[in-house]
Symmetry: C2
Subunit: 217 residues, 2 copies
């Protein structure tokens, strides 16, 4: 029996799910059919308590005296993460990063399907990125009216993002994966996940500086 359906689950927990999912996938690949929270905790370097509590937020997937059935838990997390369906994606800004994402085979495998790519640079319009032909950015709006787009990948310079974002929102895009260095201002009917690579590398440089500071002491 699952918990109170309306309980809002914290982002901290949600962000850990993909990691559980990855480890369970690895276990499956190795033919392991069951695992206890204790064993999983050793593999993952987290406490068994945390694993149990995280999973219990979504339901009772384990069995006392047995542990978790790997295949079943994997399928449950897949469902929880919304990976049991297909998403139509488009790329806005088909530069190096955009093309890299479009060419990444794992997305397709997981149900993220690129159905369009747009750029304003005439040098690359007409070329292909992954399976799709790059269109001029002026074709974005008509395209959105013709096709159901679930997720837009925004990999354009920050000063262009505020112009594009409302076009997406107004034409039914509900999810934005934002690689642009800016915080988007979207209504609650749209979800944004930021992938600010620059901030990630800055965290790394902070850690490096700390490391060196400690070594000197």
């Amino acid at each position: 029996m699952s918990k109170d359906e309306n309980e809002k689950i914290s982002l901290a927990v949600v962000k850990r799910l993909p990691r559980y999912y990855r480890y369970l996938g690895d276990l499956l690949e190795h033919g392991i059919t069951r695992i206890s929270s204790g064993d999983l905790s050793k593999k993952m370097g987290v406490t068994a308590s945390q694993i149990r509590q995280d999973l219990n937020k979504f339901g009772c997937f384990g069995q006392r005296g047995y542990g978790y059935n790997v295949e079943m838990l994997y399928a449950e997390i897949k469902k929880i993460l919304g990976l049991d369906r297909e998403y139509n994606m488009i790329i806005i800004g088909a530069g190096n990063l955009g093309q890299a994402l479009a060419n990444y085979p794992n997305f397709r495998k997981r149900g993220f399907k690129f159905i369009g790519a747009f750029d304003k640079n005439p040098d690359i319009v007409g070329k292909t990125a992954g399976d799709v032909v790059i269109m001029d950015i002026s074709e974005l709006e008509p395209f959105l009216k013709e096709n159901r787009v679930d997720i837009a990948v925004l990999s354009i310079p920050k000063y262009n993002a505020p112009k594009i974002s409302p076009i997406l929102v107004e034409n039914g895009v509900r999810g934005i994966w934002n690689f642009s260095h800016i915080d988007l201002n979207t209504p609650d009917s749209v979800v944004v996940e930021n992938a600010h690579l620059t901030e990630s590398v800055m965290t790394l440089s902070y850690k490096l500086s700390e490391l060196e500071k400690n070594n000197k002491e």
Copy 2:
């Protein structure tokens, strides 16, 4: 006067610093020379308390009755994040993503300098990525012995990562920016920052599923 130097600062705080840095940079660009925590909090959508407390972890940068001097605070955070120096970087796995990173001009601007790229695919060895020629992966170890490499960007398939990671560690690389879908097992003398894009997009699909679930109710 800065606080207890040995106090360990939580990752949550550190991860917010780049965002402060970004907003301060924007303010600078707009010629704004001072700002109060209250005004900044409105812009950023966080509490003023949090801003004050975050910054206070590193020192007393503000002035009562005045606020924060934007230029000075920007410079301080730059120093805290370790962005006041240069880092030599290499790319391991010069596929689409690796090349996209190598070509990203902002890294260079911020002091992250690519000095090498490696791949095992003979089709791309010899081509250029950003400013550097892609070398065969067999040249990695000799290269590390000849050059000071601060950061290695790991963008290779997960099954190769465990082979490469020890080579990096043993040859003095202290920072790894990990795009491979695996958790690296490195000693404490090395820092790792994960940039797991797949996990990021899974978080997005979770949020999307939640959104749709709530709309149905």
